[in-house]
Structures are given as structure tokens and as C-alpha cells.
């Protein structure tokens, strides 16, 4: 695991910055999803709290909407079927253009949406123009961690508001670089990665 080994006592100093509620982020290090979530959250925290960018929630809101509508259809069909048991409810199960079918269509849409539109994007942050004249600069962070794999890929995209130019940078490193033996996230090892990506992308613009 990480070069710095240590138990709970030293972890407080290491991961103080990215701690949540003053508690260092400790996860089950064998759980891929938990690893990815912890790293995503930490990167998000750096971007939002250190640089003061505002999070844009359009992507996740849309996903929530699709889910809600899907589950809503299912609930509707269920309640209807409960009130008027089956042979009678058949028309409504079909007529409402197949509530049932619509549910599955929506679930398909959701899958397509998460694979093609979100593409692992976990943060869209807006760097508001101070004068409020130019469009916002947009930072997009996407990550990818395959199941049973230890290589965490982080893609940072920067879109300049005035020019619309896009720049992208990537890093892929083993997750072992950022967690200690106990599964505590070491912010002092992870934060520099984010800040260096950020500064690299934002300084290039001055050329």
C-alpha cells in the first residue's frame, strides 16, 4: 500500500484535510466501489473547497429524474393492479402504452445515459467569472476504476468560458498510492495529484 505506513494514530494528521466530519475517510480497501467513491469524493472536495468552484448538478439531476419517473411508472402500475386485480387491470397495463414496457424503456435509457453521457463523470464544477460577464469556466472530472483492478484513472477536462477551448489531462495510478494498510485515505498523497492536474490545465491557458 502507500509508502507511509501507519495505524490509526498517525492517520489523523495525514488525512485531516479530506476528513469528513473530522473523521478520516476509512474504507474497506478490497471494495472497488468504495475505493472509487472515496477518491472521487476527495477530488471533488479539493476542487470545490480549495478552489471554491461551484458544483453543477445537471447531470446527476437528470439521472435522478429518469430514475424517479421509471420508479413512478412501476408504482402506478402496482397500485392500479392492486386496486383492480389482474384480468381487469390488463387494459391499463397495456393501454398506458405499456406502463410496464415504458419502465423497461426508461431503464434502457438510463443505462445508455450513464454509459454514453455521464461516462464516469462525477463532478462538473463551474469556475464563476468574477465580473459575471464571461461564461463560466467548466471543470469536468471523470474517473474509471475497473472491478478487481487497482489502476484508478482520473480525467480532468477544463473548458475555458471565453474561448470555448477544451483541454484535458489524465492520470492513472494504482489506488495503493493513496490508501494506507488500514484503508485510510491519505490526503497528503492524493491532494497534490489533483492540484497538479488543476494547475497544469489552468496555467497552459496563459500561453
Amino acid at each position: 500500500m502507500a509508502s507511509k505506513k501507519g495505524g490509526g494514530d498517525s492517520s489523523s494528521s495525514k488525512s485531516s484535510w479530506l476528513a469528513v466530519d473530522n473523521k478520516p475517510v476509512k474504507i474497506d480497501k478490497w471494495d472497488t466501489a468504495a475505493l472509487k467513491n472515496a477518491l472521487d469524493d476527495a477530488a471533488k472536495k479539493v476542487m470545490l473547497e480549495k478552489y471554491g468552484y461551484r458544483e453543477s448538478t445537471h447531470l446527476i439531476d437528470l439521472r435522478l429524474l429518469i430514475c424517479t419517473v421509471g420508479v413512478g411508472f412501476a408504482m402506478f402500475a402496482l397500485v392500479w393492479d392492486y386496486l383492480r386485480p389482474f384480468p381487469e387491470s390488463r387494459p391499463i397495463l397495456i393501454i398506458s402504452s405499456l406502463t410496464v414496457l415504458r419502465y423497461f424503456v426508461l431503464m434502457g435509457v438510463l443505462t445508455l445515459y450513464t454509459t454514453y453521457k455521464e461516462k464516469g463523470i462525477f463532478l462538473v464544477a463551474l469556475d464563476k467569472d468574477k465580473a459575471g460577464v464571461d461564461p463560466d469556466n467548466v471543470w469536468t472530472l471523470a474517473s474509471y476504476l475497473r472491478k478487481y483492478d487497482d489502476i484508478y484513472q482520473l480525467t480532468m477536462t477544463y473548458k475555458k468560458g471565453e474561448t470555448g477551448l477544451e483541454r484535458e489531462d489524465k492520470m492513472s495510478k494504482s489506488v495503493a498510492n493513496f490508501f494506507d494498510e488500514n484503508g485510510v485515505l491519505c490526503s497528503d498523497l492524493y491532494e497534490p495529484i489533483i492540484t497538479s492536474l488543476q494547475s497544469k490545465l489552468s496555467t497552459e491557458k496563459k500561453e
Binding site: T57, I60, C67, V71, A74, A77, F86, L93, V100, Y103
Partner: protein, 184 residues
């Protein structure tokens, strides 16, 4: 950290409102996917219960306890002697799977209804003793579906779950909690 170490809830504690809501939705989607598959099957097969599990040995050697039956209930298809039907009897919660022994339709019954009698292959007498008191024949409205295919022994899980309801609820509760707490 104390005796009550709720570390496993850390995942949940770190979520924001949107993630929390998504977690609930995720749970909802799993439940409704299962329900919608069931309802979809109902619409396609026309049967209110397209899949049933054989609970008794009365149809041996055709079906054994635990066999999973796939049913259809198309109104336009006539019921014929020799077919295996699943039917409900007033006053009994559980549908019965038995073979059609006699059918009356057409000339005798002018109203276009069908009346039929059933019997389990493994039973020595017909089903009149199982029907509601005074009932001699089954009608089309009693039919849940006709057996179209079966998968042997798979349904034994269902039988076990029904025999030990606490076991069933424990499993369901664990799965539900896991989905809600575990962040994807």
C-alpha cells in the same frame, strides 16, 4: 470508537442528499424491475400468475414437489381433455395443478360456457371432493392458466421459504439493507 462501532454506516454518512436519494431510488429500481417483469409476463401470458410452483405430489410422475410451471391463459384456446390446468377453488388460497378429465361444451350448454372436471394423476378419485361444497364442475373463470412448460426442482427454494417465513424475511431484510447502505 466504542463498543457501538457503526463504521459500516460511514459510507452513508459521507453521502450528500442527492446520493442518498439515488440510493433509495436504486433500491426502488431493483424492486420495481422484479415487479415489472412479473406484470409484463402477466400481460403476455394472460394469466394472473404466469409461474407457479408445484406444492404437492398429486401429479406424480408428471410433476414433483418443487417443479416450476410456466402457464398461459389465452381465452380463445379451448380447454381439452388431457391438458394440465391450474385452477382456483373458492375458499382455498392455493391454486391446484391437475389434469382435465371430462369437458362439457357446445350442444349441451347453450350459453357458450365450458364445464370440466379435473383429477390429479396420482390421486385415486377425481377432484369433486376438493371443490367448494356443492360444486360439481369447474368453469373457465376458475382457471389460472394451463401448463406450457416446466423446470424441475427449481421451485424447492420457494417451498423452503414458505415453510420458514422468518428465514424469508431475514433474507429480504439483509438484501434490502445491503442495497440501501452499500454505495454503488
Amino acid at each position: 470508537m466504542g463498543l457501538l462501532d457503526l463504521d459500516f454506516l460511514d459510507d452513508v454518512r459521507r453521502m450528500n442528499k442527492r446520493q442518498m436519494y439515488y440510493q433509495v431510488l436504486n433500491f426502488g429500481m431493483i424492486v420495481s424491475s422484479a415487479l415489472m417483469i412479473w406484470k409484463g409476463l402477466m400481460v403476455v401470458t394472460g394469466s394472473e400468475s404466469p409461474i407457479v410452483v408445484v406444492l404437492s405430489g398429486s401429479m406424480e410422475p408428471a410433476f414433483y414437489r418443487g417443479d416450476l410451471l410456466f402457464l398461459t391463459n389465452y381465452q380463445e384456446e379451448p380447454i381439452r381433455v388431457g391438458e394440465i390446468v391450474v385452477f382456483k377453488v373458492e375458499g382455498r388460497d392455493i391454486p391446484i395443478v391437475h389434469r382435465v378429465l371430462k369437458v362439457h361444451e357446445g350442444q349441451i350448454l347453450d350459453d357458450g360456457t365450458v364445464r370440466f372436471l379435473t383429477k390429479g394423476d396420482n390421486n385415486s378419485v377425481d377432484d369433486r371432493g376438493l371443490y367448494a361444497p356443492g360444486q360439481l364442475w369447474l368453469e373457465k373463470k376458475d382457471v389460472v392458466g394451463r401448463a406450457r412448460g416446466f423446470v424441475p426442482y427449481v421451485g424447492i427454494v420457494t417451498i423452503l421459504m414458505n415453510d420458514y417465513p422468518k428465514f424469508k424475511y431475514a433474507i429480504l431484510a439483509c438484501l434490502g439493507a445491503f442495497v440501501l447502505i452499500h454505495r454503488e
